[in-house]
Amino acid sequence: MKKLLAAALGILTAIGGFVDIGDLVTNAVVGSRFGMSLAWVVVLGVVGIVLFASMSGRVAAVSGRATFEIIRERLGPRAAGANLLASFAINLLTLTAEVGGIALALHLASSVEPRLWIPVAALAVWLVLWRVKFQVMENVAGLMGLLLVGFAIALFQLGPDWGELLRQAVPPSPPGTEHPASYWYYAVALFGAAMTPYEVFFFSSGAVEERWTAKDLGTNRLNVLLGFPLGGLLSLAIAACAAVVLLPAGIEVSSLSQIVLPVAQAGGVLLLAVVVLGIVAATFGAALETALSSGYTLAQYLGWSWGKFRRPARAARFHLTMIVALLLAAGILMTSVDPVAVTEMSVVFSAVALPLTYVPILVVANDPGYMGEHVNGRVVNALGTVYLVIVVVAAVAAIPLMIATGAGS
């Protein structure tokens, strides 16, 4: 049990980063429009995030430095500042979407208007950031988020034609009704959602919060190998549920209630309640993760003291950053903007910012002055270079695809 709890950082990172509101929405939209034909992107994204999260965790454990400290050091003030602007904006958009997601999920559970839930959700997130210990936070949010396994249960209860799902996935065969540009737009969005930079900001800073040293490299490996593939499987289950129920019915996902439709159909009220609770936990975990990441990135760039292991008075600017970010997110949501639309934007912009985050990690993981004997091996470097190419292609293609397809519509 202790060993499993040691993987909580990875599970929270993965649940919060991988099946946050962005992935819930993107996977369900993709499932309802393209079936399982984009499943390969989820697999590609899982391998990529496992590769780079484990690298950032290893760098943090061995050198004591979190990812944005490394970005600032290696890229210099200008390029790192550009990355900060982009990452901070994405973080804020994602935080907005997550707080909105909590409100929408609570709305599903209570039928109280989502706008009334927004201040409650933001306040609850802030209270946890202010008061709750890092370890307690990650254990509770991570384990509750596991309730999303309800999507997988629903899939089995739906008794789909597994052969048909597999045929859609390998070789990938997008439905003829969709334009290829839309297909590739969603491929980039899914890839961006899987590899969002805030996952490594949070994971590496969490490693520092948990005081990992070179002795904890086994825990690091366990975390990423357990957490992210689990997140990937849940993503695939969500997409498959949508592909089985929504695709044949011609329903296009535009709200959270449609995402859980297959669950209600398969498992009734009880399973629905479990999944809604899981969504609340996952979006809550992701809101914590993105709020913390906004504090981590700004504080690490500017050299402020940071971390939940310090009392708030000892890391005042770090906590103030998170408060301002939460207030901004709640303010944006109160304008009645659709959180689902905000999410779809944020994952595409993530794809643009990927290279500026992943290149410095790869460079430092090769620096013997920092890593000693724990520098990257050949296989990891070869994979890293392959992913660098993929990440750059996705970053370059993201905006043109967004414009060409009218954001996938």
Binding site: G369, R378, L388
Partner: protein, 148 residues
């Protein structure tokens, strides 16, 4: 003067020929002998180490004051070395190869060889961040930029 004032400043030879711009400043750190484990060893971060920098908890040499050794001058003003000046590491391909290629011709001059730091007549004097112009002394040495 801040380091930021020197970075990107134009560098001229003793005869007035343009050599490039300042891309970095090289400092030597005095290494201080510390008891086993370095500063803060054995301290609990929660208890005593609240205000200690995180680097104090990493296993690293303790350092004392810094001394200015010289300036790195790049003919094309090629930005950061990304740490590749310290070692001869060649991975991950192709990043170090690209960084080194951009930095071909970058050299180190001793701070003693800098004859003057004056206002650059080519710069707009009203601009806040107007860079100075550096002139090197006759007989200056172009030292290798690497540390590895």
């Amino acid at each position: 003067m801040n380091v930021g004032d020197l970075l990107d400043a134009r560098v001229l030879g003793p005869d007035g020929a343009a050599l490039g711009v300042v891309v970095d400043v090289r400092l030597a750190l005095e290494v201080v002998d510390e008891p086993e484990g370095g500063p803060g060893a054995g301290e609990d971060r929660e208890e005593a180490g609240h205000d200690a920098p995180l680097s104090a908890h990493a296993r690293r040499d303790a350092v004392g004051g810094a001394r200015l050794v010289g300036l790195l001058v790049g003919p094309r003003g090629a930005g950061s070395f990304h740490g590749y000046e310290r070692t001869d590491v060649r991975s991950p391909w192709p990043i170090p190869q690209l960084v080194r290629r951009r930095h071909r011709g970058t050299f180190l001059v001793r701070w003693e060889d800098v004859a003057s730091v004056e206002a650059d007549p080519a710069a707009d004097p009203s601009a806040d961040d107007a860079k100075p112009r550096l002139r090197l002394a006759p007989g200056y040495d172009e030292l290798p930029a690497g540390l590895g």
